[in-house]
């Protein structure tokens, strides 16, 4: 790796990062290049190694092998410098439940050196995050959405050069999710690089300029949302058969017309297959009708994470068993 000082190194430059927990290779040799000022998405199912990767980049876990530079600083030998330029909002709120919202932010503001201005800084953030009314309430009485907002506010006491967000919208209702998305976009407008993990293709699609797809600790694909979809097909046709017994015949017909492989959903009577246009899908449905296979319904949809995974790996995005990652 280049060790010469560089005036504009990438936000993250990781080479062959490895982290093992016992026999499990949670992160199994990942390279990552995150350009400055962009939103970069890490997409993968539960247990794929996303959190472990993020925790390494946030200096919370030491890599077992490989190396990485964050904003040009080596993760291991210059961890203090790395910490000055990052902030991390984990999957589980890292807040003190016993303290009030304001006190949580004040504690962090004091730790960043705001001293006498800590309270003013806390109140400013509470205002922007619409938590001013809850400033004096203990965090244990906050709702999930409020906690997430406070947790993100806690990462913005000083504006980080790079913000790590581990599944920022998991468990949030649709409104709270949209509001977190808006905030993430606004932060990039301010020059903050964002590296986020998600299980939702839609989220990566909506936010991220580039997406890395992770499975079993390895990067299996990387590209823009458009590039990934090109690999997957722009849309999927889902067909529900009236008679589950005809599924094999139907699958064969669809595969002949549309190319690619039909995926049988667990329920038994539903087939999913890549379709490049509604026109193609229409033609495929016509062949089913011609063969006397009646259908109960059909739909066209953008590919789900599962379908992207199926296209990339040949297996679904099933969660791998609990990894025993330390919290």
């Amino acid at each position: 790796m280049q060790t010469m000082p560089d005036s504009h190194p990438p936000a993250v430059e990781a080479r062959d990062l490895v982290k093992t927990f016992g026999a499990l290779r949670a992160v199994d040799g990942i390279d990552l290049d995150v350009p400055r000022g962009t939103i970069f998405g890490i997409l993968g199912p539960n247990g794929a190694g996303k959190t472990t990767l993020l925790r390494m980049l946030a200096t919370l876990l030491k890599p077992d092998a490989g190396s990485a530079r964050v904003m040009g600083h080596d993760l291991v030998s210059a961890s203090h410098e790395v910490r000055k330029s990052i902030a991390m909002t984990g999957q589980f709120a890292s807040l003190d439940e016993d303290l009030t919202g304001r006190e949580n932010l004040m504690l962090l503001a004091k730790l960043w050196g705001f001293r006498g201005r800590a309270r003013a800084r806390a109140d400013q953030l509470l205002e922007v995050f619409e938590l001013a009314d809850a400033a004096r309430r203990q965090v244990k009485d906050y709702s999930g959405g409020m906690r997430r907002k406070l947790d993100i506010a806690a990462s913005l006491i000083v504006t980080p050069s790079i913000l790590f967000l581990d599944e920022p919208t998991t468990g949030l209702d649709p409104n709270a999710r949209k509001s977190v998305w808006r905030m993430i976009r606004a932060l990039t407008g301010e020059g903050v690089t964002i590296l986020l993990t998600t299980q939702y293709l839609e989220e990566a699609d909506q936010l991220a300029a580039r997406i890395a797809v992770i499975d079993h600790g390895r990067k299996i694909a990387e590209g823009t949302s458009r590039e990934l979809k090109a690999a997957t097909g722009s849309g999927f046709l889902h067909v529900t058969l009236t008679d589950p017994a005809r599924i094999a015949a139907a699958a064969q017909l669809l595969e002949q017309t549309l190319g690619g492989e039909a995926q049988r959903n667990a329920e038994g009577a539903v087939l999913s297959i890549k379709a490049n246009s509604p026109h193609e899908a229409n033609a495929a449905l016509a062949t089913l009708a011609a063969a006397g296979i009646s259908i109960e319904g059909f739909s066209m949809a953008a590919p789900s994470l599962d379908e992207v995974f199926f296209a990339l790996t040949g297996h679904g995005a099933e969660s791998t068993p609990a990894t025993g990652e330390p919290k």
């Binding site: 910490r83 807040l95 006190e103 962090l108 050196g113 407008g189």
Partner: protein, 267 residues
């Protein structure tokens, strides 16, 4: 998030990087806030030693020392040692709780003195030990305890208690870092503490114990601490007694402080 424009408002110039002491004080402030928000922890801290004091004084006192008055005189310095040793467990449980909730992930990803969170735990400990000891001492005095060495003796005894709590606290911080849940920390801790506290000279004079047990009681660090506490509070403490009482806290700090730091940094 009100609007995207407001995000710009939250940008600020970075303050100068604070020093280690400033970091430690911030965590100390957190420990004080915990007392404000969770005052019921004092109840936990005081109830056990209070029950012990009342039970032993009134139920066993007369039989053990001839009268409840003379038993209280014997018992109070020892129950203070027990109080502090029991309460040291709280730090380990608190640490385990914080680690489990991911709170320390935030702290560890900040550019701060990496030991500052421990300094905060220590501040909480000192406060806990002081408050609990003062309450138990007051109750002891209501029951008739009179410190023969006067106010100065009591002050010196409180100082010794804080040193004892500091030294013993490392054991439970290590447990807090190693065990997965606060409850395991508590169970493990009390399994170890119970024999040390009961097979000591806190409650009874070991003179009537079988020889093999006395051999243990005489070298039990809890007994050594209790002897020094009696000397300090009732008068007549010797330098040797003080030295022996400080031996275990000093050894534990020398051995376990590095282990604690290593475990914490390794996580």
């Amino acid at each position: 998030m009100k609007s995207e424009a407001n995000i710009a408002v939250i940008q600020v110039e970075r303050p100068a990087e604070p020093g280690a002491l400033s970091n430690a004080l911030a965590f100390g402030w957190r420990a004080v806030l915990k007392f404000k928000h969770v005052p019921e922890q004092l109840f936990d801290l005081v109830m056990t030693p209070l029950m012990f004091t009342l039970l032993f004084t009134f139920v066993f006192g007369g039989a053990l020392a001839g009268s409840t008055d003379s038993y209280v005189q014997f018992f109070v310095p020892g129950i203070l040692v027990q109080t502090v040793v029991f309460n040291s467990v709280y730090s380990g449980m608190g640490l385990s709780t914080d680690l489990g909730k991911g709170l320390f992930d935030r702290f560890r990803s900040l550019p701060i003195w990496s030991l500052a969170p421990f300094a905060g735990l220590m501040v909480g400990d000192v406060l806990r030990h002081l408050i609990a000891s003062l309450i138990i001492l007051s109750i002891g005095m209501l029951l008739g305890y009179r410190p023969g060495a006067g106010f100065a003796g009591v002050l010196a005894a409180l100082a010794l208690l804080i040193v004892i709590g500091f030294g013993v606290g490392w054991v439970f911080l290590v447990l807090g870092l190693v065990m997965r849940t606060p409850n395991t920390v508590m169970t493990m801790a009390f399994t170890g503490i119970m024999p040390l506290v009961f097979a000591s000279n806190i409650m009874v004079d070991p003179g009537t114990m079988p020889g093999w047990l006395r051999a243990f009681v005489d070298v039990n660090p809890v007994s050594l601490m209790t002897t020094a506490m009696r000397g300090l509070m009732n008068g007549g403490v010797t330098g040797t007694e003080l030295g022996l009482a400080l031996l275990a806290p000093a050894l534990l700090t020398a051995l376990l402080a590095p282990v604690t730091l290593w475990l914490y940094r390794r996580r």
